[in-house]
Symmetry: D2
Subunit: 256 residues, 4 copies
């Protein structure tokens, strides 16, 4: 399990939400409240949109809480759309390739959760990718494989449909192998213009996901960044959120 944060709004320095909050993502890296694991120290990553169409990426295998480079980069990089992720490995190695966010072209993706029994469907799940997409496989996480399937689906569909197709493919493989372990996930996705997020689980324990809208600024986060509980809205399980460039939010049910 991991913790993540995504932001869309007026340009801010990354440190505003990574560091300068009572329960900032850095605090969560040491003391997550709403996750199975309280420590998220198996690498981290940030991705941000700036003047380039594709996002910048900074991923590191060290814990986020004490990384000198993260501190200075978050102090200097401004963005109006960015992701940040602190990782608690569910078994895969701590390599940069296994750290979130993942990016391809102008798209960016990060994930929290787990495909239960992933090791038993991994080969078939990966082999279902096209050669074109397969060559972007750089690590071994279920997360990155989910991202590549999502990207492949964009050839035919919009983001919501592509995400649903990816989920259905996982469900198919789990069913075929008779795997009962739960498939739980939250994801954040962006093309540099719209911020998408989703929350899903095959059982009644989806990972936590919240959002906050304040004038033009929208945050979607694994956990609230402070104790002002009334300002944070929990995204219902099975939901897909889209936040456009105007800061308008729409929430729809996932159709899987």
């Amino acid at each position: 399990m991991c913790r993540w944060l995504s932001y869309r709004g007026d340009p801010v320095f990354l440190e505003e939400y990574l560091f300068d909050q009572d329960h900032s993502l850095i605090v969560q890296s040491l003391q997550a409240r709403k996750a199975v694991t309280t420590t998220n120290g198996d690498g981290f990553g940030v991705g941000w949109y700036g003047t380039r169409p594709e996002p910048g990426l900074f991923r590191e295998i060290l814990p986020a809480w004490n990384d000198s480079n993260l501190k200075t980069l978050a102090h200097h990089i401004e963005s109006s759309l960015f992701f940040a992720h602190v990782r608690a490995s569910t078994g895969t190695a701590t390599t940069r390739s296994n750290c979130h966010p993942f990016a391809l072209g102008r798209w960016m993706f990060m994930h929290n959760g787990q495909i239960g029994g992933f090791e038993r469907i991994r080969r078939r799940f990966e082999n279902a990718l096209s050669d074109d997409m397969y060559r972007h496989r750089g690590g071994t996480t279920d997360s990155e494989a989910m991202f590549l399937h999502f990207m492949e689906g964009l050839n035919d569909n919009g983001p919501k449909e592509s995400l649903e197709a990816m989920i259905r493919r996982v469900l198919d493989l789990l069913e075929r192998d008779g795997i009962d372990d739960p498939f739980r996930m939250t994801v954040a996705i962006s093309d540099g213009a719209t911020l998408y997020a989703a929350r899903y689980s095959t059982d009644d324990r989806p990972p936590s996901l919240y959002y906050r809208q304040r004038s033009n600024d929208v945050l979607v986060v694994s956990e609230p960044l402070d104790d002002r509980h009334h300002s944070w809205v929990m995204l219902p399980p099975g939901s897909f959120l889209a936040c456009d460039a105007a800061g308008d939010i729409t929430v729809k049910a996932l159709s899987v």
Copy 2:
């Protein structure tokens, strides 16, 4: 604050105490019970005596709990006298040079605690070293500086006297600068034959330190490795322990 473990006895694989205990040092790296900080993820180190007179050292800036190299080394390296340390930085950088244990010749040293107000006495404390010793300064921790003063003192004294001289020097500098912050420490020291340990504080809150004697095998640890509380003895504050090659333990009062 950090957590550490030292062992003297029949040869064992390091993993026996680093990994294979209910509350092993690796468990403590994520969930220390008796420390101010529960997470000890800012680097780690092991040092062991083998066929060479000087100890082997393996120090790394990653968290201990997920390091693939630590796992395989602890599975393969056997020793009858070894140290292991998981670090929670009190401000200094996470570099290998700041990780414990420290070694010089056949001596090895590790530390938990803090010299309160160290930054204000640091220059004078370091400058009091000889040029010969000063060139071994590789990091910026109070711990390594304490070690080098201890080593310098060995020219004239035995280990206990040298440790006491080091403590007195710190007390002098703190007093001269009117620093009231507490000086708290536990240390483990060895020359490859005897295992020494000490527990000390200027206030009534010294870091925890325990030992266990079982046939030939002696452990001195920051925290018990299991819940069999009766088998672990708390070392009294202000004490200096020596465990010789026969496994015999003597405990004396520090004279500072």
Copy 3:
């Protein structure tokens, strides 16, 4: 391209061949003579057999020439059968999972060379593994995939036949896709008893490979460790070498 070294003989400290030779592997990491790339600084690894049936592994993403841990481990670890490898990436990421040697059970494997056009056959090559073997895929190199195919082949064959089957599988996939890029390799393999090595290429430029036999001690290396040229024998292209526990060497032609 990379450089590697394997040893079988009387127990020696690893540093003897990694550091203490005129043209040691560490010197080769900075200044290889017989390789396309002179710098081999994209990670390294050592694997050694000791008291356990399976080998110990130490792999790191830093350059070998300045790694403090490699220095102390090579000074302290003795073995009568060990591998060491310095890596020059041909494109894949510098992660520990992509560093050699690879190990599974009591088997160990390392590789120099490249499957030309690997990216175009990668998915099919990996998918041809069984689920059992596939779950050990930790990185993205052709080397590790070759190792897993070799391991899979051991179910039905000895090491030579299994290596040949792996090579044939690669040739089949390259042919099917009309890939003309050369497939060049040297490998070292061991089960903890016998040291195997092979040299192969589809063109006339196989990577260099040499061996030296001196009383009981056998070295198989990418490059000679010194300038006494007469003491090093070049392994002919298309050959498979086996060095048994008595230090006896047999060389046979690969049958692919």
Copy 4:
């Protein structure tokens, strides 16, 4: 010995000079032409001025040539005044604290060269710092100590005078200890407005240093970034260069 690059001019992406030149700094990290060591793989760093008065810093212990984060950061960060440095250790550890540039407040500094016999004057050189400055000592290099002395001198002097005072202090210490080893250096310094550089040696073999002025853009570099030799001017030994915000360059003799 190391290689470095500094830029002042119209905003450019860092990659323009770090990557996109025939003999870019990244090429120099593998194949320096005008340095004693051809490989500069013991860490690297970049520092840049953006919207903050103080510079951003990114320093890493991996080689620059294959670092995924450097690649993406250099692709995304724009600056009109930045430094970059690839390191070849002359003995000190490969830690981030020993990597260049160094920064304090709005000042930034990087260095190539060596104080011969530094280990013998190190304690006295460091102890001559004020406590205020001493607490910024994070590593063990002569470079960082030189920077802190330079910073201390700014209390009373301008940059040129402060650099000269630092050099004189080194010369004094070397003379007092009868050390004949050469003291050679090139440095780049900035306060975010002006780019300063200097080249100095006690013997006739100062490290190489060149600059190029093209419309508003000024580069000061250890080695030319391409083979158009006529466009690069060698800075004479014993010189101090200042490039102001208008891109005007003045070169004066160092007075030591």
